[in-house]
Amino acid sequence: MTPFLEVTDIDIAYPPKRVVEGVSFKMAEAAIGCLLGPSGCGKTTLLRAIAGFEPVQRGLIWLEGVELSRPHWTLPPEQRRIGMMFQDLALFPHLTVADNVAFGLRSWKAAERWARVHELLNVVGLDEYAQRYPHQISGGQQQRVALARALAPRPRLLLLDEPFSSLDVALREDLAHEIRAILLREGIGGLLVSHDQFEAFAFADQIGVLNQGRLLQWDSAYNLYHRPADHFVADFIGQGVFLPGRMGEGSRVCTELGDIDGIPPAGCAPGDPVEVLVRPDDVTHDDSSPLMAEVVERAFRGAEFLYTLKLDSGARLLCLAASHHNHQAGQRIGIRLEIDHLVVFQRALGAMNEA
């Protein structure tokens, strides 16, 4: 399939500062993606460049085989047919809900316009609020109005800039699921920006992890978790710790918790220092295991405890254990490693430990 949205090697700067560097990714038609990254990493900037608000210094943005941005040339946002939901919603405060939704449909015939408005208000479940003003409805409802307004002119793609960040956590995932369903039904692709991985998992099929203006990995949630391309991704997605180790013969990695089989990173020779990603679910509590660790901290998670453990060397581990295994801080417990996908990175040079 030819890609629908194609972002090729773009740089964006607020002179003199370069904020986005060398980002490339592709999305298929009606696909749903997410750009995930810590605050300040350039997500909004990247999204605004796709919408046409920021020019690119380098690279190209294409949609449906048509060029939208290149250096020194930017198709204005009003001609792109790319909808956007803003972080602070930006509803028109002096217009009713229905008028807000109808605002982008001026060139439509009146009958079609109102039919579209009511269709969308039905979709977002707000038909009975059509005559209210934005300040007379709740935050979640305002969110839906903003969605309806953005979808009304039938955009080719919808961009969402952390639209859920002002809602409470419970509502967030619900709304993310709901908007996803609406987009799928309308056949409109979506690109969400978020710093919250659970929101991203709930919303998107494909997720790009951004850090300091660089796109580190563009992949499915499963692969981001189980096959992170990079130390930052591994650290940012899910929980886990890095256990220092050393490459052994062949594909063995020697760690304090024993030798593990795995695929070594490219360019690693036996003896090279590496680090092994250990997720909390890779460590099982086993009273019969000879491997012992001291409980430093524990957090109750309902069905499970999340234990923070200290190994003899001082290295820390996280371990999920069923909550009927109730151990106190300071106790030593037996553990076992059960790693399916071994994730190994070469350790940064310059960490010159005694050998």
Binding site: P77, F86, F92, G104, A150, G350, N353, E354
Partner: protein
């Protein structure tokens, strides 16, 4: 179990301990180890002489630690303690050299000390003003293009917004303009009348009032009032929409801000300001007339009879004809400054002030230009 020699204890805190003449660096000079180094260093007494920093006690060192160590040396030397770094193993020294070499690339060196001189500041101010001027011209050009499009397809024009703006900028401004024009007529008649009375040339008050008012003062005072009243409102309205991202939201649903926010305002003011000027003409003549009767015994009848004889149609039209130009200046500056609001609410206030000051300045400058050009062609 893997062999334990691979694993030094991670995260032993880095510190500096004085022992005799030597100051020993201990612990791990790594990202984790130097976490609270600053607080531990605060307790160290540095001697006031050459000092030997001994690195032989350093466990592990990484680039962050190396950078911190280099910075420590630099800090000490700046505080007047010449430092000799000893006891480092060759590989540690190599890392230190590497970090020192690459520090510039990493962008952590202090920015060069710049003290700008007045000439440089003047130059920068000039360049930034010239750029702002060019940007404004670009905005005027864009507005002109949209205007041509709109006049080509009048059905696409935002008629409701246009009439709303005419009401706001025109009809609602009538009372204040009536009052100020009337008072201006009184003031000019009073000052001029005092002089005319000396020579017994009382009746010439009609020339004085009608020509100054119709040609110069009425258009100017009207433009200044409208700049303060409507130009500032334009900036504030667009500026607020800019902050709440409503302007961006408009664009993403396919509406060009120029069409929705600028053109109706521009057209409304171009229509309203000449009409307001005619209104101000009448009221200021009335003010002069009242003063002429009270002070100079020139009756209303004498006054009104003389006006058409001294005021040519050209003078009247020149006065009113300046108004659309002033209107365009006020509307364009007001909108332009509104789009230049960035950040928060304080920026709206700042841009509004700038908008009023700039539009009044440009109106007066344009008026001066009119005088020079019209004088040159003998009107």
């Amino acid at each position: 179990m893997a062999d334990s020699r691979v694993f030094p204890e991670p995260g032993k805190p880095a510190l500096v301990q004085p022992e005799g003449a030597h100051y020993f660096c201990r612990g791990d000079w790594t990202l984790a180890g130097i976490e609270d180094l600053d607080s531990r260093l605060a307790g160290v007494n540095w001697p006031n002489k050459d000092l030997q920093l001994d690195g032989s006690g350093i466990g592990a060192i990484d680039t962050t630690g190396a950078l911190r160590l280099l910075n420590l040396v630099a800090e000490l030397e700046r505080a007047g303690h010449p430092v000799t770094l000893i006891g480092l193993r060759p590989e540690q020294r190599a890392l230190l050299d590497l970090v020192r070499e690459r520090r510039a690339d990493a962008g952590v060196s202090a920015p060069p000390l710049t003290r700008s001189n007045p000439l440089e500041r003047l130059g920068r101010a000039f360049v930034s003003h010239a750029q702002a001027g060019l940007q404004f011209l670009g905005f005027v050009g864009e507005a002109a293009v949209s205007l041509v499009h709109a006049l080509w397809r009048p059905d696409r024009l935002r008629w409701r917004a246009l009439f709303g703006n005419i009401e706001d900028a025109g009809v609602r401004a009538l009372p204040i303009i009536a009052l100020l024009a009337f008072m201006l007529g009184i003031v000019i008649a009073y000052q001029g009348g005092q002089q005319l009375k000396i020579y017994g040339a009382n009746i010439f008050i009609v020339e004085l009032i009608s020509l100054t008012m119709l040609r110069e003062l009425a258009p100017l005072i009207t433009a200044i009032i409208v700049a303060g009243r409507t130009g500032s409102a334009y900036t504030a309205q667009i500026g607020t929409m800019q902050i709440t991202e409503e302007v961006d939201a408009l664009r993403t649903i396919g509406i060009a801000p120029m069409d929705l926010l600028v053109l109706p305002k521009l057209l409304a003011l171009v229509i309203a300001l000449p009409l307001l000027t005619v209104f101000a003409d009448a009221l200021s003549l009335f003010g002069g007339m009242v003063m002429a009767q009270a002070l100079l015994d020139v009756s209303f009848t004498d006054f009104l009879e003389r006006v058409p004889r001294v005021v040519t149609l050209t003078s009247f039209l020149l006065g009113v004809g300046k108004a659309p130009v002033f209107a365009a200046i006020i509307a364009l500056v007001g909108c332009y400054q509104g789009f230049h609001v960035r950040g928060g609410a304080d920026s709206v206030g700042r841009q509004t002030t700038v908008s009023v000051v700039q539009s009044i300045f440009l109106v007066i400058a344009a008026d001066a230009l009119f005088s020079v050009v019209l004088g040159g062609i003998g009107l």
